[in-house]
Symmetry: C2
Subunit: 229 residues, 2 copies
Amino acid sequence: MENRCENCIIRQFNSLRALNKDELKKVSDSKISKKIKKGDTLFIEGQKLDGVFCVRDGVSKLSKLSSNGKEQIVKLTNKGEIMGQRSVIAEDFTNLSATAINDMEVCFIPKEVISNTLNTNPYFSLEVLRHMAHDLKEADDVIVNMSQKTVKQRLAEAFIYLRKNYGEDEDGFLSLTLSRDDYANIVGAATESLIRMISEFKKKGFIKTEGKKIGVLKEDTLQELADGF
Amino acid sequence: MENRCENCIIRQFNSLRALNKDELKKVSDSKISKKIKKGDTLFIEGQKLDGVFCVRDGVSKLSKLSSNGKEQIVKLTNKGEIMGQRSVIAEDFTNLSATAINDMEVCFIPKEVISNTLNTNPYFSLEVLRHMAHDLKEADDVIVNMSQKTVKQRLAEAFIYLRKNYGEDEDGFLSLTLSRDDYANIVGAATESLIRMISEFKKKGFIKTEGKKIGVLKEDTLQELADGF
DNA sequence: TCTAAAACATGATAATTGTCAGTTTTTAAC
DNA sequence: GTTAAAAACTGACAATTATCATGTTTTAGA
């Protein structure tokens, strides 16, 4: 049992930091550490979740299947985030599927522990509330982008977002490597359209590619493009 | 002071129902009733809100300006809903503007009362959390619709939504009358495109119109259309 | 009631994006 | 290492949607 929540720095980045010692002990005693392989799924939309997942390492995509059978990625999660809280709080089925984009390390925390703490520790509720408020704001922004911007603008924005949030390696390629399909499902476009746009960006010198890897060359130009110039 | 929160049925539909007598008294003593005329604005995106609005009557649109200058309506609020909580909780500027679609009656509740209660009454926090969880789920659905469905599908869906949530009058017209511009800003399309589609739906007998008013004639057909047939 | 402004409407055309069909490259399993 | 499957890519074409131009109707205020 070397991995105790008490010693886990990750929790400083999420709502679990509002827990007191006793509560933290309960969480730690009941949590189950899991390793998720790239491509594996944490949960599928429509499932009932028995708990939440705290991401120690790796990135996952939260997506939803449209009635036309296409996947839409609603959000990418990063280290420190908690997944599945919406479903546990609303005592509802998940509306999203979670799939690992690279190898992940997560802790599963049973819902009883979470809901007990929500009922007794208002600071914890408030922390969860703040995080959800943040998610809601981001979701609103996505709605506006989806409806008012072109695919090209959304793609430019995606590259900037990925660089900002996940960084790049020593050769200037985005640290988070996504498939073309994933890109298409983030910006909400046909895969072929998206590939064409990547080619275009590359030809124009905005980005560089090497296999799946993509590197941002002209962030300013991409930003202008995203803003509509 | 005839209008006391203690006697207001509206609060049964929102998170205020989790308040105890004392808390409710505080809310009631500090609240300010306001009448908002159709077309007037409750708040504008980027403002700092000093409180939340509890909707007693009327409908408002929550919208956001895109960088291209077009408005996107993110959500319509109805009787009983509380507006501005996200901003108050996150101690953040509003990301949305709120505009009255018809004449409204709202109560303004100062943020201090709200945040005090959030800090002390976990049931209230939990209720707010549930409502926000619901909003977040709805936002996810909107994202998927925006990116995966055609304008025609989204319009069909909008008519069904409006009938279901706001009802219709004795002549079969939607109770909530929106301008063509508002419709365009809900489904995320150019106003001209939208008007054309309304004409098409009318020609095909799916809906009827009389001036601004629109009535759903074939809900099943619209539903099939929205689902992609 | 008159009048200007706003909202509604339609046509022509252009831009954006999707679909289908096929080729090449990469990946992963045996 | 070979090979089958998956992913990446390209072209041709079609469908969707936006834009611009213009006319008509409705609405609200003097």
